[in-house]
Amino acid sequence: MADDARDKAARRRDPKPSATSRRSFLKSGAAAGVGGAAALAGLAAQEAQAQAPPLAGQVRWSREVDVVVIGAGASGLPAAIAARDQGATVLLVEQHFDIGGIAIMSGGMIHMGGGNRIQKEKGVQDSPDLAFTDWVNAENGEAKFNDRDLVRKWADESVPTFEFLTANGLDWDEKFLGGPGDASSVPRQVRPKEWPIRKDLVAFDQGRNGSGIVRALEQSARKKGVEILLSHRMTNVVREGDRRGRVMGATFVQVDRNFTPTNQTLNVRARRGVILCTGGHGNNVEFRRSFDPRLTAEYQWHGQTLAPHNADGAKAAMAIGASMWATANQTAEAGEAFNKGRIATRDNYIRGLITPESPIFFRAKASGMNVTDWQNLILVKENGKRFYDELDSSYDGFFAHAMAWTGDPAKLNGGGPIWAIFDSEAVKREKWGTEAPVVDRERGYFFSADTLEELAAQMKRNPFQWREMPGTTLRETVERFNTFVDTGIDLDFKRRKPTHKIATPPFYAAWATPSLHDSLSGIRINTKCQVMDLQADVIPGLYAAGETAGGFALHGLGRAIVFGRIAGMEAAKDGARSTRA
């Protein structure tokens, strides 16, 4: 089967509850395999063709406000508040049944310096100039591809954003100042305390301080009169005059708890601006493959069961002419783009543990096993062969080899599922539970069997294991590895000190396929967060922030919050259609 068809077939069988994973928005082969602006322009054109947004005249508006913010996460909440602070009427629309985005599950460490109060109190010398210089460092992979105008804006707006968050109720963890980290030369990461009300959390007892950002901002937004509409997914942004004029508003469809659309639609006219804060593209297979063709459907994205980043913002913007920006950041393999995660569940991001108490557990299905010692297992590909030193978690080690071709002419792109293979002694050493809710047997992300041959035979139940793993190969792989344990020398991959044999039945196979992390590139914005087209012209009335926007490879919250606030302020001031409510 051709790769695209194989991928689509796998996705059809993928039971994960993401609406977009079942729906590819591009016609086959969309620009995959080529990088750069030209290819992405091609992608934009195909996208426009595949899913042309309605013409302004075709839309019947059911609501009208000054500013519509789409996505209630790290960038959307500050955008909504900042717009409201300027006197605009604001509707904040979110597809999930709660606010927070993936930010609610984050560690809450906001990379945002320039000399804020906490930095000063801890004696850290920082300034906007230093922050700027760090993040345009020509020798740093996370800095060198950045749009320096955006970095300058971030550096200048970091302290005002810290003050903005303080004024909107963040309860800072005064003891904490993290970093330097990434491209920074001084510690800049501040974080609030975890939100104290347990029922408002999605992840528990693991320092998910991001809840302290989004819940505080939610409270402030509601108090200030931001209207929040949940369970509605944006489907299009509508542009006036044959899709060349000003952005008029956006269309939405109501979705259920599994993000499946109901037939309720809503069209909201935005007098001053539409702000796209829908997160990145990690959960959209074809979109992410435009940056890296290896990223076929077997790779999961770390927020898939919480607040899927389906590239909706970027798609809607590109359909009306937006350009992408600083695409090198996505593939530079310098920032947070991949993750070696937990095992035995598809939702396996190492810091995204979802337990049965969580309100989204029904989507995650299992919490997975944390590996404390990778000596307890080997990792094999879908063909039953080891492929690298399992103790290595680097880009060049794990990810490059995990995504390498497995040798099947029927699947050339993507490295296929990665399986952790271990025995019952490893289960004892790690004190792993081997049943639900820890592992996901039901959907084929965890198997056990009396012998290795029987284990291999079962694994075809996994939706991404496209061919049967040869049982003899798996057995021979394990037998060979066991000889390395005898001698202490891994002749194949030089793993240090192979320690434990895999021998005592029953045997186990647990999903250990890499998980995708940040989107580090997105649509082009200027320093006012206005979305721009390929001619570098502003698309009037359209704004973007957070992972939806490109140009700056700063990981996570710092970028999302700083630019979210700017987008809100600027959209509210956008005069073209202004009628104050």
């Binding site: 984050s106 560690g107 460490m109 947070e336 993750n339 070696k340 190492i350 810091r351 404390t372 010692d373 990778w374 000596q375 103790l391 978690s393 025995d423 019952s424 050493r429 009396d450 012998t451 290795l452 041959e453 029987e454 035979a457 049982g471 057995r475 037998e479 066991n482 000889t483 344990v485 005898d486 001698t487 202490g488 240090r496 000190k497 320690t499 434990h500 044999k501 021998a503 005592t504 039945p505 029953p506 045997f507 992390h517 990981h555 996570g556």
Partner: protein, 332 residues
């Protein structure tokens, strides 16, 4: 008197709704999911069916003659039919594959009948499959490595039949590289704990006299089982060492706190051992210079050597790695 009016006729259409596997374990139960369509008759509950196997018997040189054996009969009722009953429904029939080894063609026959005043002529559907011997597979575990050259050691061996046949009483052989049977274990009555049907035995076998790595092959032949079974093989490995003459007591502690470290995995020469809850491991070794390396997740210690001249005690300090290492970059 008027002649009774003939009931209207309608063919029943039969089709396979799920493919019958090309190969089925001999003697195993399997499902045939058949679609039954009779548009005018809204209810086929109660319709009889038979599955007939055609084989050739008699003088094979002569081509033999076809003999039909019914292998399953019943009625398309109850659980055989979808809840909607009637036309275009699916019936799941469970049959047992022949116990012998070969290719079979079966016919599902729904005989001519009248339902709700509609006449249905006989309908049939054929499908073929081959029976295969049950797959078996093996495991070997719980043997020491290293073992003392030329001395006996014990290994557990187990065999499993995919179709779940009881393998108690059958033998697993242990062979050397040349194929000579060194020992044989008779599988016990109870499967190994935690398995669904891995029958096992504890077998004593002699280590080779030569020093160094060796491997042994397991072989299972199930010739005498009632149903055909494919044989299986597997290997296990170990290394041999000379007989130890001294004891080393190795204590592993955290360099900074000096607290004992449990479950630190030591390799002294070729001997592997873990520390107990007091951080201690007692290991039997022979005199000479031996490499000493330790693994404990979250800690590090340089590899070193010990010179063994008699019983001795060694203390090893491990340095705690930064808490999140080696996954620090993902700790956000």
């Amino acid at each position: 008197m008027t002649a009774p009016k003939a009931a209207p006729a309608e063919a029943i259409a039969l089709e396979l709704r799920e493919p019958v596997p090309n190969e089925i374990d001999a003697g195993a139960r399997f499902s045939v999911v058949v679609g039954v369509k009779a548009p005018a008759t809204r209810n086929l509950h109660g319709a009889p069916f038979t599955i007939i196997s055609s084989t050739r018997e008699g003088d094979v040189n002569d081509g033999g003659h076809a003999v039909d054996h019914p292998v399953l009969s019943g009625t398309l009722v109850g659980s055989h039919l979808g809840p909607e009953g009637g036309h275009d429904t699916s019936a799941r029939l469970t049959a047992t594959a022949p116990e012998d080894f070969g290719t079979f063609t079966w016919a599902l026959v729904v005989p001519a009948q009248e339902v709700n005043a509609v006449r249905h002529p006989e309908a049939s559907l054929t499908f073929s499959f081959a029976t295969r011997p049950h797959a078996t597979s093996l495991a070997a575990w719980d043997h020491p490595s290293p073992v003392v050259a030329g001395r006996p050691f014990t290994v557990k061996v187990g065999a499993k039949c995919t179709a779940g046949c009881a393998l108690a009483g059958k033998a697993v052989d242990i062979r050397d590289e040349a194929g000579t049977v060194l020992a044989s274990g008779t599988l016990g009555e109870t499967p190994w704990p935690g398995t669904t049907g891995l029958y096992w035995a504890s077998v004593e076998v002699q280590a080779p006299a030569a020093l160094g790595p060796f491997s042994r092959a397991l072989a299972f032949s199930a010739a005498e089982l009632k149903l055909p079974h494919a044989g299986a093989s597997a290997t296990f490995s170990a290394v041999t060492i000379p007989p130890p003459d001294h004891h080393l007591s190795i204590t592993v502690v955290d360099k900074e706190t000096q607290a004992p470290l449990q479950d630190a995995y030591l390799r002294v020469g070729l001997v592997r051992i873990a520390t107990d809850d007091t951080g201690l491991a007692r290991v039997a070794v022979s005199a000479g210079e031996l490499g000493l390396s330790i693994w404990k997740a979250g800690y590090d210690a340089p590899d070193t050597t010990v010179v063994v001249t008699g019983d001795d005690a060694v203390r090893v300090e491990m340095t705690a790695l930064p808490v999140e290492d080696p996954f620090a970059r993902w700790n956000k």
